[in-house]
């Protein structure tokens, strides 16, 4: 070990309490950074997972168009010098389905980007059970396709998704909805479609996605039953859910599909912009708080280093007289700061991990909106690496000025008294 490091070590050992206090500043800063970022990223991941559990990568559907600029009168008088003005036009009959759905589906199946597709018929309905009437929606699906895409099997409270295939007019109901209607497996529920059609379905399963906006309103029936309820033929499809091999390419792929087919294509990020925004807010908050903690720790180290150097003026002077150059003095004090930083960062990482681990085993207060058993915490090596990096850099920066000051001390001033 070089003589400079020997002196640095002796200084640190001689004032253990001071060293410890300086180190703890860094330790807590880094521990809080790790804890906060683990928790925030855990929440982000949970939100994204939940979001993706009911949002397809791309949702293709026929948006109701409110473009009334074309009128028959306009067509009739075309080319003639007349101005046609139709006041308060009434929308003509709009089709909600995707035309040529079969061709569309087979075209999508051949697309190399696409992993899964699920054709859907959706409509608003009234659920009637005894005197209770609740509005909601149903999705008529090929349950195999839908189950593969959203992993429905894991979300069943009772029953199995496949029951839709075997049961005659079966329905899989959201847990919140089932609770409100007070229905159980095997009960018969009447569904009233907007066109007045009334059908009775038997509850063959209850699912819970963990988002009340879905669980309280949605049910699944088979595609054929859905079409039947709406009084439409077998080619009637209103939506197509698409899952890509790489969901990061959703935005681009959605645009292509829109241009190709003219239907509205929402990618998952657009559909869940609010989740993305709140992720950003959480990230920002994490970094602001962590940087503040580290800066406070840095000032602590700066103070302690300054104090140490003021106390060691004589030692510095004598070392200089004996042939220690300015850079030696700087090395002596800077290495103390670095030592404090690295040790503080390492113990901060450990403390941070322990706290994060403890938090991950705290039960999350049960509620009907989110399906969480424990606080969501992410354990990612990158966070610990950054913790170590920042934890070591902060004391280095904080120790730099005092060390420079020490290096510049004029020994004559001190030695003469």
């Amino acid at each position: 070990m070089s003589v400079n490091l020997l002196i640095a070590r002796r200084h640190l050992m001689a004032s253990k309490k001071q060293t410890l206090v300086a180190m703890l500043g860094v330790t807590f800063g880094i521990a809080m950074f790790i804890l906060m970022i683990s928790f925030m990223i855990g929440v982000n991941q949970f939100m994204e997972r939940t979001m993706l559990s009911f949002t397809p990568d791309i949702h293709l559907y026929n948006d109701i168009s409110t473009n009334y600029s074309h009128s028959i009168a306009g067509e009739y008088f075309k080319g003639q010098p007349v101005t046609v003005s139709v006041a308060h036009p009434k929308p003509r009959q709009v089709r909600l389905d995707l035309k040529n759905a079969a061709a569309l589906l087979s075209r999508l199946r051949r697309d190399p980007l696409v992993a899964e597709i699920s054709p859907v018929v959706t409509t608003l309905v009234f659920y009637n059970y005894g005197p209770v009437q609740i509005n909601g929606s149903i999705s008529g699906v090929n349950i195999d396709d839908e189950s593969r895409m959203f992993d429905l099997k894991d979300k069943m409270v009772t029953g199995l998704p496949e029951a839709l295939l075997t049961a005659d007019k079966g329905i899989l109901m959201g847990s919140g909805l089932a609770q409100k209607l007070n229905v159980q497996l095997g009960d018969l529920v009447s569904l009233a479609a907007p066109n007045g059609m009334l059908m009775r379905f038997r509850v063959v399963g209850i699912f819970r996605i963990g988002i009340s906006a879905i669980d309280n309103v949605r049910s699944y029936v088979s595609l054929a039953n859905g079409q039947q309820l709406l009084g439409k033929d077998k080619s009637y499809i209103t939506d197509i859910s698409i899952k890509l091999h790489d969901h990061a390419r959703a935005a681009v792929a959605a645009k292509t599909l829109h241009n190709q087919f003219g239907y509205k294509a929402d990618d998952w990020e657009t559909a869940n912009a609010s989740v993305k925004t709140s992720n950003l807010v959480r990230d920002t908050l994490t970094y602001v708080v962590s940087v503040t903690l580290l800066i406070v720790a840095g000032f602590g180290i700066y103070n302690i280093m300054n104090m140490t150097i003021n106390n060691k003026m004589k030692d510095i002077a004598i070392l200089k007289a004996q042939g220690f150059a300015g850079r030696d003095i700087m090395q002596i004090f800077l290495s103390q700061a670095i030592f404090i930083g690295i040790l503080g960062a390492l113990s901060g990482m450990l403390l941070g991990f322990i706290l994060a681990y403890a938090l991950s085993s705290v039960p999350f207060p049960p509620n009907e909106y989110v399906a969480l058993k424990y606080f969501p915490v992410a354990f990612e090596p990158a966070h610990y690496f950054f913790g170590l990096l920042f934890g070591s850099l902060t004391p280095l920066a904080a120790g730099l000025m005092p060390s420079l000051k020490a290096a510049k001390i004029d020994p004559v001033m001190i030695l003469r008294g």
Binding site: H11, D315, I318, L319, Q322, G323, A325, G326, D328
Partner: protein, 227 residues
């Protein structure tokens, strides 16, 4: 006689609180094996002179040559190395590093120099302490020793790198007469037996009188250049 140190026309100004010429055209030579006290009244510039000669203070005009090498104009880093190799310091306040043992204090300049291995350095430091009858205290923290003991440790530390010249600023200023006597004898011995030049600023006339020659200063001039 070979000169250990030569000073030529040294001038030094203090700029604060007001412009003041502390040293005025100081020139003299000290030979190897000479023990030379510098005496004079408080404020005559003797300490200032010593810090110029010791290369710690570089704000002066004139030329200083130590052991044949011109030190005036060297960079701070070069001067640090030069001090480490060629100059031993003894101060009024012993200035040992309190966190280190007596032995470690003696070893530090040699470890910095890096000429000997750590084991060798320790051996040499112990031998040095032995000569000054301080070996029994080698493993004690320096802050636990008495003033006389500390000063002897400081002398051992000054000698560890086998310097050509020892510079002392009031080395006996804080010591009783017994210890003063002892430090004087050590300096005398170093000069006469080992051929080291010893330059000591002091206001202790008894101490000075017994030396080979005395440089006396008054108002920034040398009034008795000695023998």
């Amino acid at each position: 006689m070979t000169p250990a140190l030569t000073a030529e026309k040294l001038n030094k100004y203090f700029h604060e609180p007001e412009e003041f010429r502390v040293l005025q055209d100081i020139s003299f030579t000290i030979n190897k094996g000479e023990f030379v006290p510098i005496i004079g009244k408080s404020g005559c510039g003797k300490s200032t002179l010593l810090y110029l000669l010791s290369t710690l203070d570089t704000d002066y005009s004139g030329t200083i040559t130590i052991n044949g090498e011109r030190v005036t104009g060297l960079s701070q880093n070069e001067l640090a190395l030069f001090r480490n190799q060629h100059i031993g310091f003894v101060f009024q306040f012993h200035f040992l590093l309190p966190e280190f043992t007596a032995l470690e204090n003696v070893m530090l300049p040699a470890l910095k120099l890096g000429r000997w291995s750590k084991a060798e350095t320790e051996e040499r430091a112990l031998a040095q302490l032995q000569q000054l009858e301080m070996a029994p205290f080698a493993r004690q923290l320096s802050s636990k020793l008495s003033g006389g003991q500390q000063q002897r440790i400081a002398i051992a530390r000054a000698l560890i790198n086998e310097p050509m010249i020892i510079m002392a600023d009031e080395p006996t200023g804080n010591l009783d007469s017994g210890n003063t006597r002892l430090v004087f004898d050590i300096f005398n011995q170093l000069a006469h037996e080992k051929g080291i030049a010893v330059l000591a600023v002091t206001h202790d006339l008894d101490f000075a009188k017994q030396a080979d020659r005395v440089i006396e200063m008054k108002d920034g001039h040398i009034v008795s250049p000695g023998a």
